[in-house]
């Protein structure tokens, strides 16, 4: 039976590094790229006698994430030990949350801009195309990192103990595109919330994918295959496509699927069974006796008092307040800094749409060309607003404005100064323009006659000549008006 006739069911387990200053259970600094084993202490190194103490900020960030996704934080939560031997894990158990996590329920919105173009239709003004239900979010500690040399490995525990938020979705995703859109949308939300940079390429967000297929909706879910070692959104997409085809192929050949964990090899584009894990997983979860349960009431109240505006709410507001198209609003809300920039530039300007166009077409275009991060944007919001006002008020021509913008981008200069230095100011004064108009009309009686005979388009030739005569400084709109008057 063709792959397209099978029903795939996909669930994601997403691990996110929280952007705290210190680790989850000790005061070591969270670390990226430091020399190995320079960010450890007795606790995160698992030395005998050391004990864990909770990081309050990590708890609040997890609760905040839950609140933003419409989830519930129960009044009481607890901490459990997940026991298994793993060299990257200094205590040979991981402190995690088993049956009383910080967050339960909720839904992740999927934004249309993260879907392929042909799938984007149907979203509302907020750009939300679909939502995927969340099972839970819990907080745990990350492990260290191993480097392999031939027959040995080297262990660096700088990362051990970094706060890790695990977001588990229901098995309610049906395509690779949806899974990819979920990750991109979630990343955007986490960045908005200020809880993580959630960059998969930098290891701040990791994702395990559970995939099963079945022949009809009437059947129970198929055996769950867990895919590990997926390191980018594109790889998530590839891994799911591969895995669905592989499982369908096996079912076609009559091979029953059994629950297993497979490793994704992105270079080879295939998943392989993780052998060597034949030991049945028996994690022997039990409540960590070093940490009592927590009461979340106070943290929940603090978090609720400072909920940030989410991208889709902002997107709907941009459409409503500024008259932007859903697409433009989507682009401008893709990062919180960009959205704030737009709002600053558009504030007090009656030409918000024009501001949006300048940002999307010129500013983002140039930043992209130079692969420059938005945070390094050289053009201030005030300067961009000034430029838009100059163009829209007829002070300079569109072509001139682009040149001015180039210089603003290169030098961070103020538009007024650049216009002046380049002598770009447009001539709109009737007295000054009249001379050029009379001169050109006198020199072209044949054209005037054709216009009067009904060839309206010929006016443009006259406008062109007047522009030329003025050295490009005449305001073309004003010139058209004067010509119309002169020709009756």
């Amino acid at each position: 039976m063709p792959v397209a006739d099978y029903i795939p069911t996909i669930g994601l387990e997403i691990h996110v590094h929280l952007k705290t200053r210190s680790k989850m259970f000790c005061a070591c600094a969270t670390s990226y790229g430091d020399d190995p084993n320079t960010r450890t202490c007795p606790t995160c190194l698992g030395l005998p006698g050391a004990l864990p103490v909770l990081n309050e900020e990590a708890i609040k960030m997890t609760i905040l994430t839950g609140q933003l996704l419409g989830a519930v934080t129960p009044e009481f939560c607890k901490w459990d030990r997940k026991n298994y031997f793993y060299a990257d894990m200094p205590k040979n158990y991981q402190i995690s949350q088993y049956d009383q996590p910080l967050v339960v329920g909720g839904r992740i919105p999927l934004y249309d801009q993260y879907f392929p173009k042909h799938q984007r239709g149907g979203a509302g003004a907020d750009g939300v195309l679909a939502t995927v239900p969340l099972t839970r979010i819990h907080l745990e500690e990350d492990a260290g990192k191993s480097t392999h040399f031939g027959t040995s490995s080297g262990l660096d525990y700088n990362r051990a103990g970094t706060p890790l938020m695990e977001i588990v979705t229901d098995p309610a995703i049906s395509t690779a595109d949806e899974a990819a859109a979920l990750l991109a949308s979630l990343r955007q939300i986490l960045v908005y919330a200020g809880v993580s940079d959630a960059d998969m390429e930098r290891g701040q967000m990791r994702c395990d994918v559970n995939v099963s297929v079945r022949k009809s909706a009437a059947e129970p879910l198929g055996a769950k295959i867990e895919l590990k070692n997926i390191n980018s959104v594109a790889a998530v997409r590839r891994a799911i496509v591969f895995e669905i085809e592989r499982q369908c192929g096996e079912l076609d050949r009559g091979l029953a699927q059994r629950q297993e964990t497979r490793r994704w090899d992105d270079e080879r584009g295939e998943s392989t069974d993780m052998r060597g894990k034949e030991d049945a997983h028996d994690y022997r979860y039990f409540p960590d006796p070093d940490l009592q349960p927590v009461c979340t009431t106070q943290w929940l109240n603090e978090v609720r008092a400072r909920l940030p505006e989410l991208p889709h709410a902002l997107r709907a507001r941009f459409g409503h307040d500024y008259g932007l198209t859903p697409y433009d609003a989507g682009v401008l809300t893709s990062e919180p800094a960009l959205a704030a920039y737009f709002e600053e530039a558009a504030a007090g300007s009656s030409k918000a749409k024009s501001v949006a166009n300048w940002i999307i077409n010129e500013l983002l275009g140039r930043l992209n060309e130079g692969q420059t991060d938005f945070s390094a944007n050289p053009v201030s919001a005030a300067a961009l607003r000034e430029l838009v006002d100059l163009v829209e008020g007829g002070g300079i021509s569109g072509a001139q404005a682009k040149e001015v913008f180039s210089e603003m981008f290169a030098t961070s200069g103020a538009p007024a100064a650049i216009v002046q230095a380049r002598g770009f100011s447009q001539v709109s004064d009737t007295g000054a323009l009249d001379g050029f108009v009379q001169q050109v009309l006198a020199a072209n009686p044949d054209l005037v006659a054709r216009i009067q005979a009904g060839e309206a388009k010929v006016v443009n030739v006259l406008v062109g000549q007047i522009m030329k005569a003025s050295g490009g400084k005449a305001n073309p709109k004003r010139v058209s008006e004067l010509l119309a008057q002169a020709l009756g």
């Binding site: 030395l47 006698g49 909770l54 031997f85 200094p90 158990y93 022997r284 009592q292």
Partner: protein
């Protein structure tokens, strides 16, 4: 200088400058050198450790509460720069890079950590015969055990090879050796003294406490060690009262309960006689003696061995030969390294308990064992809450019998577990308890146990002081 001085007497001499901290350190070193080789109280008291202590002694501020007082430390408590082995081969050679919070506090009060005392490996046992190195012996009779797991601390205090020592108590590991050697052993309430730096055996049950030659010394050490520690999430954030100002106030008006479940047939006549005589003295001193019941006592040992071993199986997983400690030679792969490192490094009792603890947490058995034990633990806790609504303190023997001969329980671990019957419940309930010498039975010390509600150390010490002062020194030697 005799190391038989109490800490209180020593610090008076130090403060008066009739003795120097250097002399105190050298006296401990000399006493240990002459007596400890036969008693096995110390697992480590090296030249280097003595020199470190001497350097501290020369800088000691004798005006501080414990200024210049050397204190022996159970080998389960981290002292920066000193070995930390828990008397286990798996930690042979390990040197702690940090101080336990109690050590930080003792140092700040002027005390000098000196010597690592012997113990049952990872505190698992009640005779110090499970030491991975050598057993400790009872100074009263070297053929007998000083008890355990803090047997080395009891030995060095009783043998006058230390002025005082720190122990830890998971199921009686301070009180039972104190009882067997005729010294004072205080198990503070759970969370009263920080566990940070105490190598974990059973985290929800254990704590650090003083083992001393007098009740006053125990109060003095507790005064320094007690209090909230932001590094221990289970430490109690409650003010620390003055334990010394009411020490001599006596027991007039205190209600002391005698639980019928603790006065059973298995108690030897000598122990029973000593305990009953002491109860009478307390009554004579004005305490009101009340019969009470702790109905779930018979389930304490079973509950304890589920919870303690479950926690231990997880706590001891970190000893794997990767980051520190013993590592098996030429491992075929990482799993082989784990399997053989742990097989070579752990002794039989530790292995037994790791297996039991792993089993009770394993899939399919968790509810039947671990969850059930946690529920029974609550019932045991409620027994005490109920009892303490009627009485201020509870009195009982520490153990049914005096110190046994080495080797008695070598092949019958269950029988040795059952000997902990009177001490274990206090750990399950998180309350405080003390063993104070109350007489001899066939020449061997008998300890009197007093237990009080959580944070009632002040009352506990006051009553213990009454027991101590009622007894003529001759009755103890």
């Amino acid at each position: 200088m005799p190391v038989s001085l109490t800490v209180s007497a020593l610090r008076a001499s130090l403060a008066a400058r009739s003795l120097s901290p250097r002399e105190a350190v050298l006296a401990v070193a000399a006493a240990a050198a002459s007596k400890d080789s036969t008693l096995g109280g110390y697992v480590s008291l090296t030249e280097a450790e003595i020199n470190t202590a001497l350097a501290l002694a020369d800088k000691a501020d004798v005006t501080l509460p414990l200024g210049g007082v050397p204190i022996a430390v159970k080998d389960a408590i981290a002292v920066q720069g000193a070995p930390l082995t828990c008397a286990s081969k798996i930690l042979r050679g390990f040197v702690s890079p940090y101080d336990a919070t109690v050590i930080t506090r003792l140092r700040a009060a002027g005390a000098i950590p000196l010597g690592r005392t012997n113990m049952d490996e990872f505190a698992m046992g009640s005779s110090t015969e499970n030491s991975g190195f050598f057993p400790a012996r009872n100074p009263r009779d070297p053929e007998r055990t000083p008890g355990g797991s803090s047997g080395g601390s009891a030995t060095v205090v009783d043998a006058d090879t230390a002025f005082a020592a720190l122990g830890s108590d998971t199921g009686g590991s301070i009180r039972q050796p104190a009882s067997f050697t005729g010294i004072v052993g205080l198990k503070p309430s759970y969370g009263r003294v920080s566990r940070y730096g105490l190598v974990a055996f059973a985290s929800s049950l254990e704590g650090i406490g003083p083992m001393t030659k007098s009740v006053r010394d125990a109060a003095l050490l507790l005064q320094t060690m007690a209090g909230h520690d932001p590094l221990d999430s289970t430490s109690l954030n409650a003010p620390v009262p003055d334990y010394l100002d009411t020490l001599d106030r006596g027991v007039k008006g205190l209600k002391i309960g005698l639980p019928r479940e603790y006065f059973i047939d298995g108690i030897t006549p000598g122990v029973r006689a000593a305990i009953e005589a002491t109860v009478q003295q307390l009554a004579a001193a004005g305490a009101e003696i009340v019969d009470i019941s702790l109905p779930h006592t018979e389930f304490a040992v079973a509950t304890y061995y589920i919870i303690a071993t479950a926690e231990a199986s997880s706590n001891l997983a970190r000893f794997d030969g990767v980051r520190y400690g013993h590592r098996a030679a030429q491992p075929a792969d990482l799993t082989d390294l784990y399997n053989r490192t742990r097989a070579e490094g752990f002794g039989p009792e530790v292995k037994r308990r790791i297996i039991l603890g792993t089993y009770v947490l394993s899939s399919g058995y968790y509810d039947a064992f671990y969850v059930k034990a946690q529920k029974v633990r609550k019932l045991i806790r409620r027994d005490f809450t109920e009892a303490f609504s009627k009485v201020d303190l509870i009195a009982s023997p520490v153990t049914p019998a005096t110190a046994w001969k080495l080797g008695t329980f070598a092949d019958t671990p269950l029988q040795s577990y059952l000997a902990d019957i009177f001490t274990i419940a206090a750990n399950l309930a998180g309350i405080c308890g003390i063993s104070v010498p109350c007489g001899l039975s066939d020449g061997l010390p008998v300890g009197f146990q007093l237990m009080g509600p959580s944070l009632a150390e002040k009352n506990l010490l006051q009553a213990a002081q009454t027991v101590e002062s009622a007894l003529s020194p001759l009755a103890l030697r």
